[in-house]
């Protein structure tokens, strides 16, 4: 950690302020140039449409990006602590591959484009259930009675990811022209479909994840020492682990179903937070949450404006923005795991 303990609360406040500033700027920039006067002056000719663009198009998108970024980063923090493995990230338990397979299955078997409940399409339901099923499988494989093996879970995650991936490719093979196009476009995904309903749907599991991570923050610290050490210190290890894995799986499944797959944030942001603030979860949890949201909002805003009117995939920008900063932190020479 290279921010002294005394400076840490202030740094966190600065990060939060930065998040607010970036979010507001993200509302004000876009393909359509909206002057502030049009936004606040009701007599302005463009007042109605300016408000519409900012409140109905940009606001849900910024919120969704922030929530998805926060979920992925915090999911990474929890996974890395539970598995005591610096390479763990939320996709490791098979969520992403399972969600992708679930979406393909729905598209090929039901060939549906219809709108389901609350603007959640049948396809995003399929993605959600697929991701949840895959992570459940991985979790069951790693658990024998009350014993739980971290290395088995990592390997089972890799195996299930590979299996879901190849089944997905098999679905591609049997898909007809239309379904194939739908599958590949779903995988590209994006945050443009954001609306207030989707934001609500993602916000609930995001808040649950933050709450359960904060509730178990001390247990997460102790579990870094190993399960038996944690047990000696009076922590109900399997209960904590169950609660956290379920919270991460549900939150990440929802975010993948609503915003597509965005790599990198779940792996790198926790390390960024740790490099700056040290391994204590009381600080790590809020910092990673804010950093994840900040990074994805920045990346998504750049993705939709840099070659406007066209859009780039947000994942490209997250890596371009995040990796140099991450390498800079790494290069400061402090060991972080």
């Amino acid at each position: 950690m290279w921010i002294t303990k005394r400076a840490q609360p202030l740094t966190l406040l600065i990060l939060i302020a930065l998040l607010v500033v970036v979010s507001i700027s993200a509302l004000l920039i876009g393909t359509v140039n909206i002057p502030l006067s049009a936004l606040f002056d009701a007599s302005d000719y463009d007042h109605h449409s300016a408000r519409f663009i900012v409140l109905e198009l940009r606001l849900p998108r910024v919120l969704l990006a922030g929530l998805v970024g926060a979920i992925l980063a915090l999911g990474g923090v929890v996974m890395q602590a539970l598995f005591r493995n610096p390479l763990a990230d939320p996709s490791l338990i098979g969520v992403t591959a399972g969600a992708s397979l679930g979406a393909s299955l729905v598209i090929v078997l039901f060939s549906t484009t219809g709108i389901g409940l609350m603007s959640l399409t049948a396809v995003s339901m399929g993605a959600f259930s697929g991701g949840l099923a895959a992570s459940y499988f991985v979790y069951r494989l790693a658990r024998r009675g009350s014993e739980f093996s971290v290395s088995t879970m990592l390997l089972a995650g890799i195996a299930i990811t590979a299996l879901a991936g190849s089944l997905g490719n098999l679905m591609d093979f049997f898909a007809d022209n239309a379904a194939l196009r739908q599958i590949s476009l779903w995988r590209m995904g994006g945050l443009d479909s954001a609306n207030s309903e989707r934001v609500t749907v993602v916000a609930v599991p995001a808040l649950l994840l933050i709450a359960s991570a904060l509730r178990h923050r001390d247990a997460l610290n102790v579990m870094l020492l190993g399960d038996s050490q944690a047990r000696y210190l009076g922590i109900n290890v399997s209960q904590v682990r169950n609660a956290l894995i379920i919270a991460v799986a549900i939150a990440v499944c929802t975010s993948v179903a609503m915003g597509g797959t965005i790599a990198f944030i779940g792996l790198i942001v926790p390390h960024m937070a740790r490099l700056m603030f040290g391994p204590g979860h009381i600080r790590l949890i809020p910092v990673a949450t804010v950093l994840g949201a900040l990074l994805l909002i920045c990346a998504d805003t750049i993705a939709r404006t840099v070659i406007a009117p066209l859009e780039l995939p947000a994942g490209v920008i997250t890596a371009l923005l995040g990796v140099p900063f991450f390498l800079y932190l790494l290069n400061r020479g402090t060991s972080h795991v």
Partner: protein, 301 residues
């Protein structure tokens, strides 16, 4: 005068050569879309088609009966569905291809990798590369196919229809702009390199995303509001009107919404370089003139 046996033999040889000459001249030569010359000694009897649009055009040229194999998704006309398949959108079974003993392969330039093309060349079977970018290219493909198959090309009804349609709809200066939406989530369009633009320019329309750097650019709602097209044409899956087309009605700032010019079309009528694109042309030109008739001042250019 007496001929020596040697010169008699020579004379015979010359005669023979002279006789065989018309045969050699009868070899068929056409230039394909990659600029290479395709040369056949005899009419193609066993044709392999490596793309759905090629299969469709072979049927249109009257050569459907000579297709011995095609690829997945070749679904038009109905008869094409029963043809044997030797590959999909990204794979080609070379063993199966050799087994059908084709005398002509017709491949889609963009649908075939450099490696596959090298392998195909090694088979020694003549290959015609089809890559139509304009309606004239489609017409020329049809003529070439007819020629390669040795079927008479004058008086072909499909070519006559083509001739008439192209004469009736010459390319002209754009009077209105169009946004051609091929998908909803993410919003996607096609840029100026695609054949749909030839249809648009023949109907006096300009594609608002013609200058986009990628063939199928990804966009967002705001970019459509900023582009403000006079007309939105959506192609979803098949004939049905995609539910997402009417999502635009919320955005009454867009001219196309105020013009009530939100139309759906079957993508096969606009994106497949086959005679069916003439139906797409007629439909798009109808919408374009409707737009002009109902509101002559609606146009942005």
């Amino acid at each position: 005068m007496r001929l020596c046996p040697l010169s008699a033999a020579r004379l015979l040889l010359t005669l023979q050569l002279l006789l065989s000459l018309p045969n050699a001249l009868a070899a068929i030569e056409v230039r394909d879309d990659s600029g290479r010359t395709v040369r056949l000694e005899n009419d193609a009897q066993r044709i392999v088609s490596l793309s759905p649009h090629i299969t469709e055009n072979l049927f249109a040229a009257g050569l459907g009966g000579r297709i011995v194999a095609t690829v997945a998704h070749a679904d038009y006309p109905k008869e094409a569905e029963n043809l044997p398949r030797i590959g999909g959108y990204n794979s080609l079974n070379l063993e199966a291809l050799m087994q059908v003993q084709a005398d002509l392969i017709i491949a889609w330039g963009s649908g075939i990798s450099f490696e596959t093309q090298t392998k195909l060349n090694a088979l020694g079977i003549p290959i015609y590369i089809s890559e139509p970018k304009t309606l004239e290219d489609v017409q020329r493909n049809l003529k070439d196919f007819a020629k390669l198959g040795g079927v008479v090309e004058h008086d072909s009804p499909v070519l006559n229809t083509f001739e008439r349609a192209l004469a009736a709809h010459p390319r002209r200066a754009a009077r209105a702009t169009v946004f051609y939406q091929i998908w909803n989530d993410p919003i996607q369009s096609l840029n100026g390199t695609h054949i749909v633009n030839d249809v648009f320019s023949r109907c006096g329309l300009y594609n608002v995303f013609a200058k986009a750097p990628s063939v199928a650019p990804t966009l967002n709602v705001e970019s459509i509001i900023a582009a403000n097209p006079d007309l939105i044409i959506a192609s979803g899956l098949g004939n049905e009107r995609p539910a997402w087309l009417d999502r635009w009605t919320t955005y009454d700032r867009i001219r196309a919404v105020r013009n009530q010019a939100l139309h759906a079309i079957n993508p096969d009528l606009l994106q497949r370089p086959t005679p069916r694109i003439l139906d797409g042309l007629a439909q798009v030109c109808h919408w374009s003139s409707q737009l002009h008739d109902s509101n002559p001042n609606a146009h942005s250019r």
